[in-house]
Symmetry: C2
Subunit: 496 residues, 2 copies
């Protein structure tokens, strides 16, 4: 991995000085084109050996280009706010929007390096790297141009650099004990990072290793590489690379049975029974959210369902059980322009609750594989890859002590018609029924197929779907409350 | 203040039950109209005596209305992220956008109550309350409907409530030592909060005191008050109340001299001198940002200026001096749709830097009194009140150990023409010159007048304007760097 970056590359000053003006002009030009087009974000990840010029290069790029269109972030120790969310949350907060360049130091590569510094890379590291590959794949599929730069020094160069810094009274302070410590373990670090770089160098997001000892070589190489890569993407007429056409995902069962049409929608509850159980489960939810251990977890409740299946009413029965200071409800409609400038999962990441809090999504990230699929708002490659991306996203949530409860509320076509007509007749419900609802109804079968695929592909052990028979609202609400109780209770019991 | 709320108000159950359905329907109806119109946000502040039903009322409102369109926030102890910003920052993060209802508990009233609980209200409390009045005035002028609800209990009722809770084993846990402590100091608390409520009950944001002992009375009164107030605003054809027409703010000096045309724009620097001083001051800024005490402060640098006055080039000379991980540059252009749904200062509040960090604004909140004034993007009442609002905003920054450096870059009309033409000729600068720039140039005199007013009205001791003679770029850049050094240095020296 590092062979070509230990050759002692260097560029004489006179060559460097001659090359720079044209390079800078071309970089600026590229940058304004990028900002004007607003087609994709550029994410530059910077990693490397101590003293190989990581910071210097970021500063140089900001100097050469228009720094108003670049955002540079280094990540210190996690803050309180960050620690209460899954580890990737802090990086999602710093993603550059379309048309901008974001420079992130270390980012998601810092943890695997630090965690494996003193041990032989094993299974857990490879799992971690696999997660990173999948995450970056999602970003590039969403259109982000990822440029990963690793600045390298050979052991000899590293030693020499420390000696030089120490010799100069002005720079001596920059040499820390940690630097010396790192030098001692240079070989192990080289092996570890070599492994990490190899495993995470993919066609869509390859690492570029740059020798760091000569500033001229380092700067010129980096500048040219960025220019070529970004310019190339800007000028390409074809959309970002997609996977080749894949086999159809939906399997239409030859006996016509599926998870939805085999639901027993006649299930119902008597009024008295309903009232009793409503009180019971609402009381239980109330106690659970006041439980001492509840401060250690977060809860995300995801509601999806047929139009008019009763999501709003169900959500109200849930929130009635809780103190209003405990929950937030996020209704998902068209994205804001800030959200449109980011990968589709971004708008959900920004709403991840803190510890001890509940976030209820009224429609969710599954819009990708439901409405966007059926209405053709995204192409088939996009929604086909979304199943795996969503599973990855949800895995991050559940691994971080977030209880994720997912509901699909199902009613049949007749019941829907009845409810649409009722809504048209009730004054304060008139906003609930639109032309669009009637249009969606025409695509009933397509939606049902999309739902079946979604359930098959995203019902995981840690975040299973709960299908709710909703022709009878009372039955549906109790099933929802009970499921939330069970899943939160189960989580609390599992905590020490 | 509390007299009418100590009368032992109550509503019989049968009346309550009869009234509720119509009230709920009207509230829902109002809420959907509000969401549909997206014309203004509703901010409900809730305060009051312990046990007077603050939490219960918020829960009830969420139950009665559509909780998906309400956001309820309570504020705990300040987090790390919050402590690094001015006290009001955390509230700005929770402001409801247009069309939504936000319920905030305590909010900016918590601090003055806690801080004065054990002392006689004095000068500093009144200053604090005055700040609150000004802040709320700004919000209502920006269109926010502020509804302030105070839930009250007489001492007798308070005592009785605690006795009742204690008598019931199920609720005993809710009575804390603090409750008993508070009861002991009931009189002092009543006096203090009475004073606070009186001082902050303004025509645009009055307090409504509601007796809290009878849940029926409390709920019905609150519901009706909200319904009337919001419905009234929704149905009003006239825009939100503005101040009566005020005297013109600009004073055109009869001798034609102003702060801009008396600037000596011939000031310049030789190339050698420039190089030497550039190195000197950039080195100094670099050392200052690495200073041990720099971690205790934040820096905001605000750049305004005539088009083509050289803001971009100056900003680059500043950022060259710093590590890219230290600063962010925020170019201010048209607001995003999330920003447009908030008071105009919101988009700047969201960018306030953490400790040890520098934020550079390329154009700023002064857009209100410059481009928005001259181009008529807001009405004259809006920009006339902005001077005081901006001074309040900046006072909050500087009081929180934020160094605020403000630059106005001035060039004359001939110099601007020269630079516009140069820009049109240079390939990578072509994005820097637009039709709009030429149009703005036609309003040169109006802009100059707006700038003079701005400088007169917003140059304060803690956040003075620095006027930069910018016909010579070298001179301008050095003056800017030098000013930053001085102001940061001055701040660091003032710290213990």
């Amino acid at each position: 991995m590092f062979e070509s970056a230990e050759l002692g590359h260097s560029i004489p000053d006179e060559v460097y000085k001659k090359e720079i003006p044209a390079l800078r002009e071309a970089l600026l030009d590229m940058q304004y084109d990028l900002a004007q087009a607003k087609k994709f974000p550029v994410l530059i990840l910077i990693g490397g050996v101590d003293g190989a010029g990581k910071g210097e290069t970021a500063n140089l790029l900001n100097e050469w280009m228009d720094p108003r269109l670049i955002h540079t972030h280094a990540f210190g120790p996690t803050t309180e706010d960050e620690a209460e969310r899954p580890p990737m949350w802090r990086y999602w907060q710093k993603m550059p929007p379309k048309g901008r360049i974001g420079i992130l130091f270390g980012a998601w590569y810092t943890a695997p390096i630090l965690e494996n510094r003193d041990s032989k890379p094993g299974q857990s590291l490879d799992n971690h790297l696999n997660d990173i590959v999948r995450f970056e794949r999602m970003l590039t599929d969403e259109g982000t141009l990822i440029i990963k730069l690793w600045f390298h020094l050979s052991k000899k160069q590293q030693k020499q650099r420390i000696a030089e810094l120490e010799a100069n009274p002005k720079t001596r302070w920059r040499v820390t004990d940690q630097d010396k410590q790192h030098l001692k373990h240079y070989e192990a670090f080289r092996t570890l990072t070599g492994h990490i770089l190899r495993e995470t160098s993919t066609a869509n997001a390859p690492w570029m290793v740059i020798e760091g000892s000569d500033p001229n070589y380092r700067g010129l190489t980096t500048g040219r590489y960025l220019l070529d890569t970004i310019r190339n993407r800007l000028d390409s007429k074809t959309p970002p690379p997609r996977k080749a056409s894949a086999p159809a995902l939906e399997l239409v069962a030859s006996d016509g049975r599926n998870v939805l049409n085999t639901l027993d929608l006649s299930k119902s509850l008597e009024k008295d029974e309903y009232k009793e159980q409503l009180e019971e489960y609402q009381g239980k939810i109330n106690l659970l959210t006041r439980h001492e251990k509840f401060k250690q977890i977060s809860v995300i409740i995801a509601f999806e369902g047929v139009d008019a299946a009763g999501k709003g009413g169900a959500i109200r029965r849930v929130t009635q059980a809780m103190d209003a200071r405990t929950y937030s409800i996020i209704p998902i409609a068209a994205p804001s322009d800030e959200e449109s400038a980011q990968p589709y999962l971004w708008r959900f990441w920004r709403q991840i609750p803190r510890r001890g809090r509940v976030t209820i999504f009224d429609r969710t990230w599954y819009g990708r594989v439901l409405v966007e699929r059926v209405e053709g708002f995204c192409n088939s490659q996009d929604w086909m890859r979304a199943y795996a991306e969503i599973n990855d996203f949800e895995e991050q949530l559940t691994q971080h002590n977030i209880v994720l409860v997912k509901f699909w509320l199902n009613i049949d076509k007749d019941e829907q018609l009845k409810r649409f007509k009722e809504r048209e007749d009730t004054a304060f419900k008139r906003y609930k029924i639109t032309e669009e609802d009637w249009r969606n109804r025409e695509k009933w079968d397509d939606y049902q197929q999309a739902v079946c695929d979604m359930i098959d592909r995203t019902s995981t052990e840690r975040a299973p779907w709960t299908l709710v028979e909703s022709n009878d609202k009372k039955f549906a609400r109790i099933k929802i409350l009970k499921t939330i109780c069970e899943q939160v209770e189960h989580k609390l019991e599992s905590l020490k």
